[in-house]
């Protein structure tokens, strides 16, 4: 039975090959061409990539993507850590209920979330503006400025993913041996000190995992900003919240004759995710040590 383990993992690799690796390589091949989605293909080498480097709208999309990624992820992980720590308290009542409840937003379809939040953040009849109005704030056109749109979109992302990350962090916390806390308590460490010197260091592998997952998800942001402005692929009127993923879609599906360029955008995005994930890995490892 020497080979049976390979057999057991084979379905994954076969499926990954068909639905993961093959499309990726195909996209790479496309990106080296002047590729019309419903017409002709001409090999042009790396021309698409060099054009990308001097494309203002591409860099604008990169800026938006990273801006919203940071704006969404940093508070999200801080909040998730805080919530996980609360839920980890042994004396908390109705623990299972809270743990389930916190996960519910993640089960709701992303399109539904985007539509509902799109309505909350409407200019004329939106609830958020209504509440702000109670405090004397004038109606905000959330889709107009880059920062208002980024806040609205980050809120949607956090609504969906905070609970998910909380649960993963919670699982990580529960895997920390109890006796470490007991020993720390014996040495006179209060809850706060225990959190910093026991929980956080022991949580490091889980935290790295959560950060990398958030990076992959955050840099591929697409549905929320798209539906936020009614399916408009360029984001705001001046591309205030067009993400890289949206730009890729604009170039490859929005414009049939530039599919090769869109493929180059896709690969650029892939490389960015790899770089950021590695950076995250290195930084999180160092800093928590």
């Amino acid at each position: 039975m020497k080979y049976s383990p390979y057999l057991y993992v084979a379905p994954f690799f076969v499926l990954f090959g068909i639905f993961g690796l093959y499309p990726m390589l195909w996209t790479l091949w496309m990106s080296l061409h002047d590729w019309d989605l419903v017409g002709t293909h001409t090999f042009i080498g790396l021309d698409n990539y060099s054009a990308l480097l001097s494309d203002d709208y591409f860099w604008n999309a990169v800026r938006n993507t990273f801006g919203m990624f940071i704006l969404a992820t940093v508070p999200q992980l801080a909040l998730a850590l805080f919530l996980a720590n609360l839920l980890n308290r042994p004396l908390l009542r109705a623990r299972t209920f809270f743990r389930m409840a916190i996960f519910v937003p993640n089960v709701v379809s992303v399109a539904a979330v985007a539509i509902v939040f799109g309505m909350l953040f409407q200019r004329d009849f939106g609830v958020v503006n209504w509440i702000l109005g109670l405090f004397g704030v004038d109606a905000i056109d959330w889709r107009r400025e880059w920062w208002t749109s980024w806040i609205a979109i980050s809120t949607m992302v956090d609504w969906r993913w905070t609970g998910y990350n909380t649960l993963i962090l919670l699982a990580g916390m529960q895997a920390i041996p109890r006796d470490l806390y007991e020993a720390a308590a014996m040495d006179g460490a209060g809850p706060w000190r225990q959190f910093w010197t026991v929980t956080l260091p022991m949580l490091r592998p889980t935290f790295v995992f959560v950060v990398i997952l958030s990076t992959i998800g955050g840099l591929q942001l697409f549905v929320e900003p798209l539906i936020f402005n009614n399916g408009n692929i360029i984001g705001g009127t001046q591309r205030e919240f067009q993400t890289v993923q949206m730009y890729m879609f604009e170039k490859s599906i929005g414009n049939l004759s530039t599919a090769g360029y869109g493929a180059a955008v896709a690969w650029a995005l892939f490389l960015m995710i790899v770089v950021v994930s590695v950076l995250n890995f290195v930084i999180t490892r160092r800093s928590v040590k």
Partner: protein, 432 residues
């Protein structure tokens, strides 16, 4: 033979089986191979956007032929187009009959091989339709890519109740007399704004579209040879200036057309006027809801006749039933079909007999205060001179012109900056 080689062989066989299974499920329903003409389909799929008015017609066709028809509706053209593109690019999933709007038809003409030549399937129908409209349905290689559905004769929808509250006349002839020109329209808008404090027209982009399509026979973003001339086209400049004037007057509700706020605005009375090409009537009605029946009416558009929108029905080559799909397209665009669609949702006939049909000419639209829509739109339709749109018209309009105008209206860009944004984006969006 050792045990381990045998095992290895088992493993290899098993792996191959898994792989084969995975591949077959991945393309399990892949039984292409062109059309099987002559075979009677169980079901035909029709893709439309907006309100085409086909609901009852389709049922009628089902009863006549026993073929089940699936009608797939998408509200907006900008959601509709990617679906069509996706199915053409992957060779799968396209409907049997697809509605092609004038703004995207030219783009698909660049690759006519994706579309069935309808002429041999439905016979010579060239005398049945407005001749320019029929001719536009032909691809450069001469094939008939689509049968004409409708043209978008222009009118303006207005809310009689809101006009009354603002002290404006409500009778449609008097209202039309208020605005022979766009300047007069702006004056009226200012009066309305003063009286109510609310937006008069829904958006600047509504106005720019109306003016664009009043350039009868003139060039818009492309010249007749499909050279991109967006930055120097007099028609575009005229529309641009008019839209800026409306923005400067502050009479628009600053709403993005087709957005949820726009949809809600119809019910809430956020604006009192909306550009109404005939196909828009069905959209106004469905957005305003039954509770606002009889509050809308239809007046003439400032600045004279024009044509905004209008479509064709095409059959993609990937459909399995070319002949039957072509038959269905012909049914939906024949005299009775176009009259019925008009009565249901407003798309203005292009079929000559439909235009002469007494039940079309005498039709009054109950929802729009019994406005004689058949007469109003029918009179203008013969005068329409088509405008040449060029391959990427829709992309230039949607992703370059309209965003730049909105940026100006909301104060994000000055006149010069907005124009620069437009011309820069038009150059990339318009390339093909």
């Amino acid at each position: 033979m050792s045990v381990s080689t045998r095992r290895r062989r088992y493993a290899a066989v098993a792996l191959a089986t898994v792989a084969a299974l995975a591949t077959t499920t991945a393309c399990g329903d892949d039984n292409e191979g062109g059309s099987s003409d002559g075979a009677k389909p169980e079901k035909l799929v029709v893709d439309t956007f907006g309100e085409a008015g086909y609901e009852d017609l389709v049922k009628q066709y089902e009863q006549q032929t026993g073929i089940k028809i699936e009608l797939r509706k998408v509200a907006q053209l900008n959601e509709f187009r990617p679906r069509v593109v996706r199915s053409l690019a992957t060779g799968k999933g396209a409907a049997d009959v697809i509605m092609l709007e004038e703004g995207i038809l030219n783009e698909f003409k660049l690759n006519p091989g994706n579309w069935v030549d309808l002429a041999p399937l439905v016979g010579d129908l060239s005398k049945d339709y407005l001749s320019w409209k029929y001719e536009l349905g032909k691809a450069p290689d001469g094939r008939l890519m689509g049968l004409p559905t409708d043209v978008g004769g222009l009118g303006l929808c207005y809310r009689t109740d809101l006009f009354k509250d603002a002290g404006l006349p409500t009778n449609r002839d008097e209202v039309s007399a208020l605005w022979p020109t766009w300047d007069k329209f702006i004056e009226t808008g200012k009066k309305y704004k003063q009286a109510t404090g609310k937006g008069f027209v829904d958006s600047v982009t509504t106005a720019v579209n109306a003016v664009l399509f009043q350039q009868n026979g003139g060039d818009l973003f492309y010249d007749k040879d499909d050279n991109l001339i967006a930055d120097k086209s007099p028609g575009v400049k005229a529309a641009w200036d008019q839209a800026l004037a409306i923005a400067d007057a502050g009479i628009s509700a600053k709403i993005t057309t087709w957005s949820p706020e726009w949809n809600a605005g119809f019910k809430q009375g956020t604006f009192a006027v909306n550009a109404c090409p005939s196909w828009m009537l069905g959209i106004v009605e469905s957005n305003s809801g039954p509770e606002n029946a009889g509050k809308w009416d239809l007046a003439a558009v400032p600045g004279g006749a024009g044509n905004w929108g209008g479509s064709w029905l095409g059959v993609p080559t990937q459909s399995k039933y070319h002949a039957e799909a072509a038959k269905l397209a012909a049914f939906l665009t024949n005299t009775a079909g176009q009259v019925a669609a008009f009565k249901k949702s407003g798309p203005l006939p292009t079929n000559l007999k439909a235009l002469e049909d007494p039940s079309f000419q005498s039709f009054t639209n109950k929802y729009f205060s019994d406005a004689p829509t058949g007469k109003i739109f029918g009179e203008g339709v013969q005068k329409i001179v088509p405008t040449h749109l060029g391959p990427k018209h829709q992309a230039v309009k949607e992703n370059a012109l309209e965003p730049a105008l909105r940026a100006y209206e909301s104060g994000q860009a000055s006149k010069e900056e907005a124009w620069e944004q437009f011309t820069k984006d038009a150059a990339t969006q318009g390339a093909f």
